[in-house]
Every structure is written in C-alpha cells, then in structure tokens.
C-alpha cells in the first residue's frame, strides 16, 4: 500500500477534514497529500507556501524569543480552517478543515492526523537543493509577473537566462550573492529566508 493509499484509508473517515498536505523541508516541495474527491485544489501550488509560512512564523517567534518546536499556525479564512504545523525538521503538515468545524474538535483531529503521519513518514536524509535553486524557486513563488522574472534577474545580475534556467546549481558564490541581491530588489525584501 502506498503512502497516499494509507492516507486515504485513514483520513477519509475524519469528519470535516477536507485535505492534508505534507511539505518536505527545507525545499518546500510537496511530499504527499490527500484531499477529498470533490476538492479542486492544486496541491503542488499550495504546499510551497505552507513551508514558507511556517519558516516565516518560526523567524517571527524567534524575534519575540518565544519560538518552540511544537508551535502551530491556525488560519481562519472565509471558506476553510487551516492548521499548519511542523512534524519534525523534515516535514510540515497542513490540515484543511471545513470552516464550520469546531476549533476544539479540529485540534483533536489534528493530533490524530499527526500521530498517523509520524508513523507513516520516513526519516529522510537531508539533501538540500543548492542555494541558488532555492532562491529562484522562492522568486518564482512570490514575484509578480513571474513568467518574465528570470529575464529580469538576468538583466540585473548579468547571469544569462540559460544559466538561470538550466544550470543554477553551478553558479559561483559571487553569482549567488548577486542573485540574492537582485531577488531582494525585485521583491522589496531586506533578506530572503530559504
């Protein structure tokens, strides 16, 4: 039985639960997910943002000297109640519930989801993507006009478009520094957490 099949068998019966997304860290890539058949979410698009959200939240809490490894983010939007939490250093899980679900029940279900996932998820060997690749993926996620943004980076850094597209992992340290500076300028950020 694949991990997706196991998730389906366990979570389908959980009341009010609409979907579960597991994001592999630190690269913010979708590892696995489950969602009800009637949901039209594109899991790959959502997963990266959940990773970034936990990372930003962690930095914010550290700035307030109140970070702890068991923190979780709860978002109450118009249509969905979302709970995002780090399972361990390798994975972030986001559980999407019906908006009408009671918060107390949601917390209980989240604990159940986490206990299931802790059993199912493997320990993965850290193989972090090169920093330049992570910076470009971050840029693709957040840049306005993302279809054209790598041409913009090429002009700002002098790194060719082809190199950005196909050999970002081989960029030199000074090129990565220029890349980071250009991305900060484009997004209006002081620094990038990737």
């Amino acid at each position: 039985m694949t991990i997706e099949e196991k998730l389906r068998s366990v979570f389908t019966e959980t009341p009010s639960l609409r979907g579960v997304f597991v994001t592999a860290m630190p690269d913010c890539l979708l590892f696995t997910h489950w969602q009800r058949d009637n949901e039209t979410w594109v899991a790959e698009e959502a997963a990266a943002y959940f990773g970034d959200l936990v990372r930003a939240n962690r930095e914010g809490l550290r700035a307030l000297s109140s970070w702890s490894s068991d923190m979780q983010v709860t978002i109450e939007s118009r249509d969905v109640l979302l709970v995002i939490r780090e399972i361990n250093a390798d994975f972030v899980v986001a559980c999407a519930f019906e908006r009408s679900a009671a918060l107390g029940m949601v917390r209980m279900y989240v604990r159940r989801v986490l206990s299931v996932l802790e059993e199912l998820l493997p320990k993965i060997e850290q193989k972090q993507l090169p920093r330049a690749v992570r910076i470009l993926e971050f840029l693709d996620r957040y840049a306005p006009d993302s279809h054209a943004v790598r041409h913009r980076v090429a002009l700002r850094t002098g790194i060719t478009y082809d190199a950005l597209q196909s050999s970002a992992a081989q960029l030199s340290a000074s090129q990565v520094e220029a890349l980071e500076s250009a991305v900060c300028d484009i997004l209006g950020l002081d620094r990038i957490e990737v």
């Binding site: 306005p144 993302s146 054209a148 041409h151 913009r152 002009l155 002098g158 060719t160 478009y161 209006g188």
Partner: protein, 423 residues
C-alpha cells in the same frame, strides 16, 4: 488665454498614418499594465538609480516639447497661465492631479492619484514593497513645466520625487530646482519627422471593416479625459494619453545601453520590451473588446477569430500606434501584419538613423499577442482578464512563433511581422 486646455480641441491624427498628436506633439494611448511593466524593464536593464534618471529625463524632454506647443496653441503668456495649462494637461491625459507652486528658481508640487504611483500601489502594493518613488513621469513633467512657464533653457531644471503613494505616503511630493549641469536633449521628433519615415498607406485585408471600427473608436476616445482624480479608468484599466517620445527614448536608450555593456543580455531586454506588447494587448485590447461600448459599436467577439484580428488592428490604429494592416491571415496557422507607419520607427530613425536589424519591439509583441487573443480566448464566455489567465496564455511555451522580416527602421517600404503556428 482660453479658459482651459481641452484634449478634444488639440488632439489630431495624421489620418493616412494613424499616428496621433496632441498640440502637434506625438502621443499614444497606453494602459497602466503596460506603463508599469515598461518602467520596470528600464530599471531592470539599467539598475534602479540610472533607470529612474533616464525615465525622469525622457519625461522632461518630451513634456517640454508638448508643453511648448500647448502654451503656444492656447496663447498662455504668463507663468501662472502656463503652469495652469500644464496642470490641466497632466490631469486631462490621465496622469493624475498636480498642485504646483513654481518660480523660475524652482519650487514644490504635490500630486494626488498620480497615475504611476497610484496604479503601482493598486497592482503591486500588496505583493511587493517598493523602495523608491514611481512617478518619474510626473517629476519630468514638472521640470518641463517650470522651464516652459519661465522661458528657461531646456534641461536647466531638475525635479525629484520625495514622497510617493507607491511608498504608502498619502500624497506624492516633488522638489523642483535648478540643475547643476543642464541636461542635453536630442533632436526633435515631431510630426514632420514621423511623416518622413512613414510610407504611403496600403489597404490590407478587411480594410473597410478595420477603417470603420478605427474611426468609431477615435470618435469615442475624443471625449475621454481624466476624471476628478485626473485618472482615466476605462475598459478595466487605467488609461493614459502619453508622450510617444517617452516610451521610445526609455526603450531604445535602455536597449542600446545593454547592447554596449553586456551584449549577451540584449535578448533579455528585447524579450521584456516585447513582453510589454503582450501585456498591452491582453489588458487594453482585451478590455476594449469585452466592454459594453465595443458590444454596442462593433458587436461582441464571436467564434470567428478573424473578428478578433480585425478588432485588434483597428484598436492599434485608434490608439495612435500607426497604420497597421493585415497582409495575410490563415486562421490558426499564420498571420502577417504590416505597417506603413509605426510610432517606434519615426522616433528611432530620427534619433539613431537606419537600423541594421528590426527593433520595433512593441509591434513584435503586440502582433504575437493578437494571435493568442484570436485563438486561445473564448470570448463568448466573457473571461475576466486576470493575471492567472494572462499566465495561461503567455507563460511557458507559446504555440506560435514570431519573426519581424521587414522594418521601416531598416529602410524597408513597410514593417512586417509574421506569426505562424508551431504545430
């Protein structure tokens, strides 16, 4: 002096060339999506500081030409009258409202709803934090207004923006002061210069329909002017009547600077300049064809892609882009658009002489986008012109390829864009 400056009274087309002039100075209509994307491209190419300096200088140069002609037309003789004309003109053209206190030695001005600052905040404000002001055009315009009001030498005044709506300030503020070193401007690019590059117009396919729609649109836009904010909000976009020389100078100076500094990156700046053509056609042309006004005047686009091609060419003419015409069209396979005049070629050849290769970047991007709109948009469903929809059409592999095979800039008898299906 006549009591106010009316765009309607002073806008004119060179009828056979479909080029537009305001008080005799070349102008075109463009929307905020195009304006913001083009400004951003200039800053990418030159860096924010030099990009901003070029944009202010270009606005200054061509606003000076426009204002000199405008104050002569309305016989505005005193500095107060001339400053008033400048403020009226800026607002009527859709660039926002300026309140300026100017003297020969400079002064200050406050802007509200300035087109670039306001629309940048609207479009990008929730996504990106900006680090410097967005209103280079307003700054350049104010420098020009001061010089024209007090009969000062061209380039003798500088203006800079100190607060900007795009930086989350309540208003835009400007300081205007004497330039330490006067700026040198290039050769005048007026109606005669454009006419000298334009060729006799040619009637292409569907000419009767295109000409009729273009004429109707010209009549419609004759009454368009800034609202009480100084903005023109129409067709789902913010429209400006803008100095054609501004667009041309910033585009060509930036492209040439990249060519000199880093030849390997010329393709990137040219790609982005073409991209601004896609952005314009998708948002403005698309917005016009989805509007109730278009429905009433032409009829909503149906299933026939030919209607969209006809509409696009007519809109290009009405916006003052030049005499574009359809030379060949085979639905879903091939579109050949030619132009006997373009607002890009008149400028380029006057300022830089004959080119060794075609550089009408806007024409290139726009005609490629015509094919996208004609064949990949389900017009009957009245789609919302959103960023995700744009991405679905222009991000990644586009099913057509574009080539500019002829150019007025190279001395050819016409400019020609060939778009063909890759399939």
């Amino acid at each position: 002096m006549s009591s106010s400056f009316s765009l309607k009274d002073h806008r004119a087309y060179a009828a056979e060339h479909d080029l537009m002039f305001l008080a005799g100075s070349p102008v075109v209509y463009h929307c905020h999506h195009f304006n913001l994307f083009l400004d951003q491209t200039i800053d990418d190419a030159l860096g924010s500081k030099d990009g901003q300096a070029l944009r202010i200088s270009a606005a200054h140069e061509f606003a000076r030409d426009l204002l000199e002609r405008a104050v002569t037309r309305v016989r505005a003789d005193t500095p107060a009258e001339r400053v008033q004309v400048a403020q009226q003109l800026f607002k009527a053209m859709g660039h926002g409202a300026l309140s300026a206190q100017l003297q020969a030695s400079g002064g200050t001005a406050r802007g509200s709803f300035t087109h670039y600052g306001f629309t940048w905040k609207e479009k990008y404000g929730a996504i990106v934090r900006r680090r410097f002001g967005a209103d280079a055009v307003a700054a350049g315009f104010l420098a020009a207004a001061t010089e024209v009001a007090y009969d000062l030498a061209p380039g003798s005044i500088l203006a800079r923006e100190t607060n900007c709506i795009a930086l989350k300030h309540d208003h835009c503020d400007f300081v205007i002061e004497p330039a330490a070193t006067p700026a040198a401007f290039g050769a005048i690019v007026g109606p005669e210069e454009h006419r000298s590059v334009a060729q006799p117009p040619v009637a292409g396919l569907f000419e009767d329909k295109i000409a009729a729609i273009a004429a109707g649109l010209r009549d419609f836009t004759a009454g368009v002017a800034g609202d009480e904010r100084g903005l023109v909000q129409a067709f789902g976009v913010f429209v400006t009547m803008h100095m054609a020389g501004y667009y041309n100078r910033i585009s060509y100076d930036a492209a040439r600077a990249v060519e000199a500094r880093a030849p390997a990156l010329v393709g990137d700046v040219e790609e982005l300049l073409r991209e601004s053509g896609h952005v314009c056609v998708f948002n403005t042309f698309g917005g016009i064809m989805l509007s109730p006004e278009w429905d009433g005047m032409v009829g909503a686009p149906g299933e026939d892609p030919t209607d969209v091609i006809i509409g696009c060419v007519a809109i290009a003419r009405a916006l003052g882009f030049g005499h574009w015409y359809v030379h060949e069209y085979e639905p879903r396979k091939r579109l050949v658009v030619r132009a006997s005049s373009t607002y890009e070629s008149g400028y380029y050849n006057t300022r830089h002489g004959r080119s060794t290769r075609p550089r009408e970047y806007f024409l290139q991007g726009a005609v490629l986008a015509f094919m996208q709109l004609a064949h990949r948009v389900q017009w009957q469903k009245k789609p919302a012109l959103t960023q995700p929809f744009y991405d679905s059409l222009f991000k990644g592999e586009i099913p057509c390829k574009m080539e500019q095979s002829k150019s007025l800039q190279c001395g050819d008898a016409f400019s020609e864009i060939v778009v063909s299906s890759k399939g």
